[in-house]
Each structure stands twice: as C-alpha cells, then as structure tokens.
C-alpha cells in the first residue's frame, strides 16, 4: 500500500556508503525511532547476559550442597541478575518501545526534546557498562573491587563500608544512579510529547491506550525515581564522606533505607508492568477484531493503580517490625490495588468475548500473559495478607510470584510487542513458525521453573541462599526448576535467531500487516524519518478503523 513515504526529497540514502557512516548515524541520532531501537537492542544484549547469570544460579541450586560456584560468586550472580534485569533490561526495553511508538501513535514527528532523548539513552547505557565493568575491576586488576554482591535492593547496613569493603557497592550505586537520570529524562520527554504534541483532533479521550499508560508510567517515574536517587546519594555520602544516614553505630536506621528504597521499589514494579498492559491494550483488540472493552474504565483503572501504588511500599517490610497498625494499613492498601488491576483483566476478557480471535504469535503471547498475570496477581493477594507474608516473605514463594509478573506477564508482552511491531520497525515479518517454537518451548520452561518454585517457598526455603541442606525436602523441586531453565534458554536462542534472520530475509510487511487501527500503521514500514508526510487529523480512537469502515466509524459510537 503506497503512502506519502513516496515523497523522498528529504530521506537519507538507504544504504550508507561506509560502515563507519552507519555507526556514526546511530551514535549521533536524535530520531526517536532510532533511539527506541538502540534501547531495545541494548536491553536484549543485557537480557542474554542476565539470563546467563540466572542459568549459573539454577545450575548451582539444582542439587543440595553443590559446588558449581562459590558463595561469593553466587551472591554476585543474584545481585547482578536482579539489578541488570530491572534497570538495564526492563526499563530500557519499555522506554525503547515507548520512544518508538508514542510519537507515531499520537501523530507527531518526534519526541518533544530529541537531544534530551539521546542523552537519556547514552547515560543509561553508560550506567550499564559501568555496572559490568565491576566484574573486570577485580581485586587483582585495579584493586577497585568486584561485582556488587549486596542484593539488588542493597539493604543497609550490609552496604556500609564496614560490611562491604572495596568498591563493588559503589559500582552499584553509581550505575543505578545514572540509569535513574536517564529514566527521568525519558519520562519527561514522554509526558511533554503526549501533552503538547498530539495531532489535530486527538483529544486526550481519543488517544490510544498505549500513550495513556505511558503517560501514567512516566508520571510515576518522576515521583518514584527521586527517592531512589536520594537514597543512593545518602549511601554514597555515607561510604565516601563518613556520614551516618544508615550508620547504626551512630544512631542511624537500617529501616530508613528500606522505606526509601521501597517507596521507589514498589512503584517501580508498576512502572515496569504498565507498559506491558499498554501492549496488551493494543494487541488484544486487534487480534480479537473488536475495540478494547471499557476504554474509560481502563484509563481510570490505570490512574488509580498509579496513585495507589505510591502507598503500598511497606508490604515489602511486613517482617521488619512495623507494628500492628502499620502491617494492617499496608495490607489494606495492597489489597485495594487488586481492584483496579482486576478490572483490567476483566476488560481484556470482555474484549475477547464475542470476538473473532486469530492466534498469530503476538496474540498467543498475549493470551498466555492473561493467564499468567492472573496467577501472579493472585499470589500477590496471598502475600498481601501480612501474617501469610510473615511465613512466605523472603522465601522462594516471593521469588516465584515476582517472576510470574516479570517473566510471565511483562516479558511475555515484550515478546508479543516484538512480534507485533517488528514489522513496523524493520519492514519485515518475523517468522510465525519460529515464533510458535519460541512460544511453546519458553512456556514449557517457564512453567517448569516458576510454577514449581512456589513449593520450596511453602516448605521453608528462603531466598538468596547459594545452597541448601539435603534434609529440607527442596531438592526435587529445585531440580525441576533448573530443567525448566534449559527450555527457556533454547527458546530465547530461537527468538534471537528469528530476529536476526528476519531482519534481512523476513517476508515483507507493508505498512499494515495486521489490519490494525492506530496511526503508526498508516505510514510506511519502516516509517520515514519524519514519520508522516502530513500531520494526521483524527476524529475517534481508531482513525484507521474509521477510514476502513466509512459507513460505521467509531466516532458515531464513542
């Protein structure tokens, strides 16, 4: 389908003359699409690295009293795995998709501040490199320290100079600090773009749900990253200037770190999950062939989730001794947040209901997401009951719960988003056959590992242990979990192969391979660097539906 992309007076050459030209273009780009792809590529590399760290842990834990790695190495593995997955996989990949899609979906030509956009990417990228440099900066080489081993939430006073000598913790502080700056920059861009650069006719009520959810996510970033940045400044000042923020010998409080960290940490997990919801909001309707059920309810539920998530943080601290009033309050707040979350699941169900569902690869990942997110939410409700958390907190039950959210919900929707938008970004389809192999292998592995992971938690296995006694009865479950890891690794390799191969040899996609309804599908695949030849004008939430069905446009029904 020909589009105004044919007006090429301004387009760059499609094959740069020198390899160095191409590299230079990518290094100096301020185009939101390129920056989006840089984020995504960067995150994929770190996904593989953090996945290797997980594999090391699963091998070590497959049998009791194993000696695959030393406790020192294991402790670095879980610290790096968690820190990498949250800050250098999760955040970048979600900001990457946001960067790519938000301007296209609202009919804009770029983000509000393109240079800030590039700066945000490069500073986050530098943070990741700094974190991994810590492996090389070992005792022998520069005497600087080695990879951090304090856990991804780095509780005080374990992070004090006294208990963590050397510089490993400092790498953690600085890397995450830089990533935070990048996150705030991108969030600032997203909010400003959405508020100030929507195309004509696109009122907030006509904006697709993906930009809506990214708007709420970005607002949460402003409020949540600050506490983390502040806490890290305080920790840094403690470690370098001899201050006493978390110095218990001088009257400082270990619990204060926990409060500050989780005031960031809990909204952070919603910052990670809302974009996954955003993808679901776009993909599920298209493959059900119906609009999203309850647009306003979805917006309302998202805003509610955003607000309430700022007030539930101490459910990570039920065992710290908050007292009955504190425990009761945070139980209540956490239970309340399940209401808007449930509303979302029900609205997705209602979207499927009465539809004509097509099981393309993006859709099967989305359907698995629905089941898995349901389970994750339910184990979350279990954990929200403080006394139940007194038993299950800090155990493998929690690890299973949050991996259900991070992998079963978020990673699955990231895969779905890949299969759905890769054609737009590259002009080629990913292989459906390889996609199905990817899906089934990964799902088998995911469930082997994470379904059964709930059991050792119920049987008393705490987290962050490099080995365990044979008499605890955990061995058989750990072995099953480790086998599951093999399936997941195989699936990821297939996925990477699919991406690499399809980039050059995939079937040509055209502008709208999925018969979808939002503005990004109205321009070429990949879009020209100016996105749209003429600024679009819209009259409803599904402008392309209106054009394809002029006798029954959405604007008649909204």
């Amino acid at each position: 389908m020909q589009t105004a992309g044919a007006m090429t007076f301004d387009s760059p050459p499609s094959h740069p003359k020198l390899w160095l030209d191409a590299v230079n273009e990518w290094f100096t780009t301020v185009d939101h699409k390129r920056i989006g792809m840089l984020y995504i590529g960067y995150a994929l590399v770190f996904l593989l690295i953090a996945g290797l760290e997980a594999a090391v842990m699963r091998i070590q834990l497959a049998v009791p009293n194993n000696h695959f790695v030393s406790p020192q190495v294991f402790n670095r593995m879980f610290t790096m795995h968690g820190t990498t997955m949250v800050f250098f996989v999760g955040m970048p990949i979600l900001f990457g998709f946001g960067n790519y899609l938000v301007p296209l979906m609202i009919g804009a030509r770029d983000m509000a501040f393109p240079r800030l956009n590039a700066f945000s990417f490069w500073i986050s990228a530098f943070g990741g490199l700094l974190l991994y440099f810590s492996f090389i900066g070992g005792y022998g080489l520069y005497g600087a320290g080695t990879a951090p081993d304090v856990g991804w939430f780095a509780y005080a006073p374990l992070t004090a100079k006294l208990f963590s000598p050397g510089h490993s913790t400092d790498y953690w502080i600085l890397a995450v600090f830089l990533s935070g700056i990048g996150s705030v920059g991108t969030a600032l861009n997203i909010v400003t773009t959405i508020v100030c650069m929507r195309c004509k006719g696109m009122t907030m009520a006509r904006m697709p749900l993906l930009p809506w959810l990214y708007l709420v996510t970005s607002a949460m970033v402003f409020i949540a990253i600050g506490p983390l940045t502040a806490a890290q400044m305080m920790l840094g000042i403690d470690r370098f200037l001899g201050a006493h923020f978390f110095d218990v010998q001088a009257g400082g409080s270990a619990v204060l770190w926990m409060h500050f960290f989780w005031i960031f940490g809990h909204p952070e997990v919603y910052i990670l999950v809302l974009p996954a919801f955003a993808f679901a909001n776009e993909i599920i309707p298209v493959f059900s062939r119906k609009p999203i059920f309850g647009y306003s309810a979805m917006v309302g539920a998202t805003v509610l989730i955003g607000f309430i998530s700022l007030g539930v943080w101490a459910h990570h601290m039920f065992t710290v001794g908050l007292g009955p009033a504190g425990n009761t309050f945070f139980t209540l707040a956490t239970m309340i947040i399940s209401v808007p979350t449930g509303i979302k699941i029900f609205n997705w169900l209602a979207t499927l209901w009465g539809g004509k569902i097509r099981f393309a690869t993006p859709m099967i990942f989305s359907i698995a997401f629905l089941f898995q997110f349901l389970i994750a939410g339910l184990t979350g409700i279990m954990l929200s009951a403080a006394p139940f958390d007194w038993q299950l907190g800090n155990s493998y039950f929690v690890v299973a719960h949050f991996h259900f959210v991070l992998v079963g919900a978020i990673l699955y929707m990231i895969f779905a988003a890949f299969y759905y938008w890769f054609p737009k970004m590259s002009g080629r389809m990913l292989s459906e056959t390889l996609g199905k192999w990817h899906f089934w292998l990964f799902t088998i592995g995911f469930h082997l590992t994470f379904d059964f992971m709930h059991v050792p938690g119920l049987m008393g296995m705490p987290r962050r242990i490099y080995t365990y006694e044979a008499d605890r009865g955990w061995a058989v479950w750990n072995m099953i979990e480790s086998i599951g890891m093999i399936f997941q690794a195989a699936a990821i390799l297939i996925f990477v192969w699919n991406v690499v191969r399809s980039y050059r040899h995939g079937e040509e996609a055209g502008p709208d391979p999925w018969d979808a309804w939002t503005l990004e599908w109205s321009t070429a695949s990949p879009p020209p660097h100016y996105n749209f030849a003429e600024e679009p004008v819209v009259h409803s939430r599904r402008p392309l539906w209106d054009l394809k069905h002029p006798q029954a446009p959405d604007s008649d029904y909204e």
């Binding site: 208990f163 218990v248 619990v255 309850g294 065992t319 097509r358 279990m382 038993q391 006694e469």
Partner: protein, 358 residues
Amino acid sequence: MSLALFLALHDMDDMPAGHAMTVMQMHEPWWRRAMQWVTDLFSTPTSIFSPQATPAHTIFSLSMLVLAITLAIFLAVAGMLLYAIIRFRHRAGDSNADPTQVYGSNQIEVLWTVIPILILVVLFLSTARVISVTEQARKPANALDVVVIGHQYWWEYRYPALGVVTANELHLPASDPKAPTPTYMTMSSADVDHSFWVPNLAGKMDLIPNKINVMWIDPHKPGLYLGQCAQYCGTAHAKMLIRVYVDSPADFAKWIAHQKMAAENDPAAAEGKLAFEHTACVNCHTVTGTSAKGKFGPDLTHLASRDTIASGTIKNTPQNLRQWIDDPDSMKPGSLMPKMNLSSLELDAITAYLASLH
C-alpha cells in the same frame, strides 16, 4: 493441590515435627500409596503447613482461607478466559468480516468492581484479626524471656532471668495449650539485618541492628524444629541455620541447670585449656570460669553439649571440630572466624579441651 489431600488424610495436631508420615502396609491400594507419596513430598521439616505452635497455627488457618478464595477466583476467571479463546476463535471457513464492535458497559464495570471489593472486605477483616491476635497478644506472667542477637553468621541466645548464655542451639520448654507457657523472644542484631524463621513454629521476624523486635512462640510438642536465617546477611547467609530444641518442662529445667554451671575443668584436657587461654581464641569466645571473655564469637562454655557446630551446619565430632578450628572457611566459606594457624599438636590439644566442655 495436595493440600486438600493433606488435610483429608491427617489431623494436623497429631503430626510430629518434620517427620515422615505413618508406616504403610504393603497391601495398601496403589492410589492410597500415591497420595501418601505426594503428602510425604510436602511433609518436610520446614513446611509452613505443619504448624506446631499457635502463631503458625493461626497463620495456617488464615492461609487456608486465602488459598480457598484465590483458588475460586482462579478457577472462575481462568475458566472464562479458556472458554472465550475456544468459543470465540476464528475458525477456518468463517467470514473475514469483523464481529459486532462493542465499546463497553457501565453496568458490567460496576459489577466487577463491587464483587472484588466485597471479597476483599472478607479477606481484609480476617487478616486484620490475625495481625491483632498475634501482635497484640497479652504476655502471660509465666512467659519465658529469651534475647536473640543475630551475628554474621551465628545466633546468640541469652536467658536473662536464668543467667544463661548460649549459641546456635535454642532450647525452649514445650507449652501446654491449656496452660500456655510461651517464650517471648526479644531480637536485635550486632551487625547487619538477619531474620529468624522456623516455619513450623511461627512466621519470620527480622533482627535489625539498633532496633528491637519481639515475637512469641508456644511450641506444643517436644522435638527438634529447623529453620534458617531469612534475610540476606552476607557470604555465608545460606549456612546460618536454626535449631530449636523444644524440651518437656522437666527436661528444660535440667538443661538450664546444666548450662548455668561453669565450664568443666577436665584434668585430662589441662594442656588444651592452657593452649586455649594463651591463643587468640579468647579474644572472640567466652568460656565461663576461664580467662576467655570474648564476645565476637559464640559462647563455648558447653560446646560439647551441642549436636552441631558452625550454626547447625556441621556435626559436632572431634574430627569436624579439629578441621573447623584449623580452617573454618573450608567448611563454611565466608565464615568470619579466621584460620588459627596452630601447630598440629596445639590443634589436637585445643580440640580435646573443647570436646571436654560438656
């Protein structure tokens, strides 16, 4: 899934701590043996579903309610999802026309907002009750007080009213549910955060430096209850195990009387005692009645009366003890006890001395 079977098959109060279930007759039908195998799989020493004290019992009851509710929700919603993706799939031969476009329904939104809220009210009120009953229980006059101090990587136990200090193996009196004699544990840490978790007896409680937390347990049956540190505290976190010996009141009194005595002074171990008092051991360890008054490491006054050393990870035998003293890191990597660099003769003597400290 096996929980229901578990409950169906066993009366919770009769279950001994961490012990595999009753002996099976050979002529048991296969399905009964299969169910037994499954329940055995879940009858582990540290299962939260084998409560042996009131706090664990209360949590167990709440957990049954929570599990029942969440299971019901799962079956309902997952059932509808499954139905939807089967019933509303595009079948080969269907027209390609799009189905009726439905945009929403305010009534339905209200319905699936109100119903979850009602469910949560039930859940919240039950939970609030358990929080109150556990955290605001009135402390009876005859409660036993124990002070627990967490260290990297061992547990210090003090009985202030009884004048006893020990380490790593906690002894408590059993508590008769009809006339409870609970133990109140006042907890803090000497260094980083730790967490005391013995799933059969209660939920976990963190040990935080510069903060005092209090929890109580009233184990109903004598026996050995296992647990371990549940808050990452450094390299050897995985090896900071907990052993709670619940004694009958009579046995407990005997144990206390023995622990109150000063260290044994076996003349056969005099050489080792001399060596011990003249090496750096005394900087970290206490042996009452000697010049060893160090507080950094565990109290060794009655070391030989313990089943294990190195916080529950190593059997207490002279051979293990000797290797531990020689090179702690080889048995518990990350342990803060340094290699003592003793000669073989000194090692033998000191080991013999410590093994004599009954």
